[in-house]
Symmetry: D3
Subunit: 133 residues, 6 copies
């Protein structure tokens, strides 16, 4: 069963995110630099994987914002800080509130246990920067 997919509409650009949060800026800069190197390698299967990954989070049967939060839960359970940063930022760009981000992290915390706590602490630091007024 497959529903139509389309690009989500972001409320904020990566640039705006980087201006709001120093933690986000450093993450996005490093990721860009490393990904440029990956793109130059021009590996066919890596490009296919990136494309598949991109398609997974588009608007579909589920709103994109909930799929980004699902990506956040998966990333926190599997304990990958870079992945957590990425999905927190993507969720923020799609208008997810801080309370919604915290509830998604709570699902990861109860499923994944205290081993998730150090990652949660770092995620909360990013949340505090992104949602400061």
């Amino acid at each position: 069963m497959t529903t139509d997919r389309k690009e989500p509409a972001y409320l904020f650009s990566d640039k705006q995110v980087a201006e709001k949060s120093e933690l986000a800026r450093r993450f996005l800069d490093t990721r860009s630099r490393l990904d440029e190197n990956v793109h130059q390698a021009d590996n066919f299967l890596v490009k296919r994987f990136y494309n598949l990954d991109h398609n997974t989070y588009m608007e579909g049967a589920l709103p994109a914002k909930y799929k980004e939060l699902m990506g956040l839960v998966a990333s926190a359970c599997l304990r990958c800080d870079d992945c957590i940063n990425y999905h927190v930022i993507q969720s923020y760009r799609l208008g997810v509130t801080r309370a919604e981000q915290e509830e998604a992290i709570n699902v990861a915390l109860v499923v994944g246990g205290s081993i998730v706590v150090p990652h949660m602490r770092r995620a909360y630091e990013l949340l505090t920067e992104l949602y400061s007024v």
Copy 2:
């Protein structure tokens, strides 16, 4: 930040689920039998953990149905068939469509890789029973 929580409204009871799907019935029966034994042990911290777990999936800042799907994604990434069965059934009881369940599983598949495939195959068998007409 904490939002009010309340019990979600289920469209189907466990009994109705068990009548719809033989796979679900067997899972629910085994789980009830084993949990009765756990409850008799009456371990304080286990009860506290069960209570915390229950609270995590209530209606809150995020609708309960999306949190059950997040539990499904986490379970599929961490590759626990019992947990997958549980969250597929809970999502079904809350009115989640099959297309929505499949999209959540796709997030787990792309985050978790081909190691998720055997669990996805078994989850699809349960989906087919639950959503048959």
Copy 3:
């Protein structure tokens, strides 16, 4: 960097494998039955993932037989019996010897630790059936 890929030449068909080993037969039958159900669901991203997975193990810069053994090592480290069965069978079909399979499993054992042992025990049972004379 991407090398040309082509289909590997199998020494044995799945049918021949199933005739040699009862464990393999049961695994292949269950997998076929469940995959037929997945194919009927006709999920776009699942099909894309299956295709990507198929391309990963083709002859390329590395001989297909070593990539199947790498898939075996990954499966044993991540402790997925179905995935182990699959890659043991694929390696066997490509002419990998039992000594080579055991050395690959040793890499998984030392990287992954004693938690791999129960899966190794089951893999050895399959090896014994496949490589019996």
Copy 4:
């Protein structure tokens, strides 16, 4: 830093455990059958690994019973039912009480999260058989 090691003194034999618990008997029988097959393969590195594993749980700086419980916690966190069964049985053979086993499992539950719960349920079933009067 290395302390002298010696074999622990077991209060019960595997045979006595198997007579007390049907779950334990089935586990021990399957394990023996599969290990006999592994031993016939006579793989040098597997034998070395088994030897290293055996040495890890001997009496040393820490009493053997606590190391078996540590093995139980590790097994529950890494979610391996066979490993859990093994360490529950070994702990029982060394005179560990049910309350002590439950507390060790609680450490695994809080560190590893709800993904540990299905394994805990099965472990409690084994505990109930082993510690019945």
Copy 5:
């Protein structure tokens, strides 16, 4: 089955640990800073989880020092440096010897495999600082 729980008696305060080891000091400082931010978020379920976690390691059927070592084994198996640091420090504060810490880490090493080695190396650096004379 639940035994009475009470707070363990620590031989050393966090402050004393930080004075003994620069690695410990940096870990404790970062953890305090991040936890202060978590506490300000005042998330109900996070507070419940922290409370559950705290209760798990109290004196009970098992002495607190062995439960901290169990936490260490779990952390090393699940490969979380922050969690390893935490439980090494807690064990030290409860009077655990270096030989006991090393034996607990050996359980994690044999259960979790060589993937644990980089974390073991860093843990040994902390041990050397904490147990220097």
Copy 6:
């Protein structure tokens, strides 16, 4: 089944690797410093484990270069940057080409999913330094 083992013939020394790549140099230096501390601790089981680990990757039924690549796949699936660095360097020292390294990483990527991507990015940076002309 056990084949004769012998030390592999390296094309490059660690020193040559460190001169070629700054990332490799930093990794090798830190590892040496930490391992010296481990060796001083002189823990019997750790030494046994290191010895077992060393034996696993020797020339045997499988060429050492493919076993180093299997170690790389396992390390990437289990997401350990230090272990990835180690096996990328060892493979390089044994004459593995960049295209072969990328194909091994592709196996890890498809088995382990997008959670492997951040580690792949860092591995590609090391590959670029090592294979620059």
